[in-house]
């Protein structure tokens, strides 16, 4: 039972939280998808059924808005096959969220009225046509995604591209970036393919070693210079830089001054927050280990989250603290959120005082 649908905000958060410029709820309303990508971290495909109850979800979003989150990012599965999507978008806007979406682009043309109401859209790409179509398991997927991006850009929509790259895909990135910029992409969000979901069955050579992460980072930097009208962002960051910016986790790792942890906004402690298609609230990523689950959507309430904030964050806090401490003195590049997710699966974190 959802206790509140109104944004009774306990205080807008200030300063960064968790290395992100916004406090974000990633919503996966369904794993139903019109594609079955080889690297899909949520193992979505056309055979999936079920999905989030829209009333439960909008109720939970009301609670989460009050907990300081400001952006709802819709993913999936393919969000455009989720029938109550318009209801979710409108209710999220009413609550004061900005709403963004990542889509494979195949259903864009028939969804333009809804897409025109979004604050940001990213079309996903995996490389140039041959590679993209192979990863997506559908001939013509690259052409369709390109057409969707171009169409949205022509309408003035705030559209960009989310690019997931295998190791060998790095070589195609400059040409892909040129192609996407030519279509009108305003931003390129670049990340290595994560070893999660269906991607776990891919060959080891698919994934990035330290030199590959360095190469990808350098290419993204060069592209940012070459494409002055496009914002190029790479999810990789220098490890030592993450350590230097550890104040981004002061909400989670600091003593909070006179504010007890159960009175702090959840968005100051956990960012991003993930809502899965089965209604589970998780920190950071869809496949974050279940030991760290926060709550269930149908029962999300301010009181429940207060209990979590008072007691529950300890394992998560220890994991993040240990992960941050591990960044000190390293000279390589790190996909921070994927790093934490893999740590959640691999170990019992150790408490380390950092701040």
């Amino acid at each position: 039972m959802v206790s509140s649908t109104e944004p009774t905000t306990i205080g807008e958060a200030h300063g960064p939280s968790g290395f992100l410029p916004e406090r974000i709820v990633h919503v996966h309303p369904t794993r139903l998808c019109n594609l079955a990508c080889l690297h899909c971290y949520s193992t979505s495909d056309p055979g999936q059924r079920g999905g989030l109850d829209p009333d439960d979800l909008t109720g939970a979003l009301g609670v989460l808005r009050a907990e300081g989150y400001t952006v709802v990012s819709l993913s999936g599965g393919e969000p455009l096959v989720y029938k109550p999507l318009a209801t979710i978008v409108d209710r999220a806007h009413e609550l004061g969220f900005r709403v963004t979406m990542i889509s494979n682009g195949l259903l864009v043309e028939r969804s333009l009225p809804l897409l025109s109401r979004l604050d940001g859209i990213a079309i996903s790409f995996d490389g140039l046509a041959e590679r993209h179509d192979r990863m997506r398991g559908r001939e013509g997927a690259f052409a369709a995604a390109s057409a969707a991006l171009e169409r949205l850009a022509s309408l003035g929509a705030p559209v960009g591209a989310a690019i997931s790259l295998t190791r060998s895909g790095i070589a195609e990135l400059p040409d892909l970036a040129d192609h996407l910029a030519g279509l009108g992409a305003r931003s390129l969000q670049i990340r290595p393919v994560a070893r999660a979901g269906r991607a776990r069955s891919l060959a080891d050579s698919t994934f990035h070693e330290a030199a590959d992460r360095a190469r990808l980072y350098l290419v993204a930097l060069a592209l940012d210079h070459e494409l002055p009208d496009v914002r190029v962002h790479c999810d990789l960051a220098p490890a030592e830089g993450l350590w230097e910016q550890r104040d981004a986790y002061v909400g989670l790792l600091g003593d909070g001054g006179e504010t007890p942890s159960d009175e702090r906004p959840l968005a100051d402690l956990v960012n991003p927050l993930v809502v899965t298609d089965t209604g589970v609230l998780k920190p950071i990523a869809y496949d974050f280990d279940p030991r760290f689950d926060i709550a269930a959507v149908p029962t999300t309430s301010s009181d429940g989250l207060r209990r979590y904030k008072g007691d529950g964050p300890v394992p998560f806090r220890d994991l993040v603290g240990a992960a941050l401490a591990g960044m000190r003195g390293r000279s390589d590049l790190v996909d921070w959120f994927d790093h934490c997710t893999r740590l959640s699966e691999a170990r019992q974190p150790t408490a380390i005082a950092l701040l």
Partner: protein
């Protein structure tokens, strides 16, 4: 033959970095070189030395943080001054033999 434009040179930089013809050892060395404590990387440009990088920082840059091992050929600091007293733009040229001379041939200019 038409002159090399800045855009052409930059494009070749991203292509060269993305190409696996530039070995992993060079890439790892380069990425390690350019990470300087206290400086946030802004932009990467090809230049006569190999690459030049624009950093930004809110602390007065210190030469002690620059190691000879980093292959730094030249560096300049541009205070924002009255625009923003606590912000500095630091431009550093790195010697990268594998890239040297293939970019814009006017040093720091780009």
């Amino acid at each position: 033959m038409s002159p090399v434009t800045t855009k052409d040179a930059s494009a070749r930089l991203s292509q060269r970095l993305a190409s696996f013809k530039l070995g992993d050892a060079v890439i790892k060395r380069l990425s390690s070189q350019i990470m300087i404590e206290g400086l946030n990387i802004g932009r990467i440009n090809p230049c006569i030395y190999g690459i030049c990088i624009d950093y930004f920082t809110d602390k007065l840059p210190s030469v002690e943080r620059l190691s000879p091992k980093q292959g730094i050929t030249k560096w300049e600091v541009f205070p924002y001054g009255i625009i923003d007293w606590d912000r500095f733009h630091v431009r550093v040229a790195f010697e990268v033999n594998e890239l040297e001379g293939r970019g814009v041939v006017r040093g720091f200019e780009h």
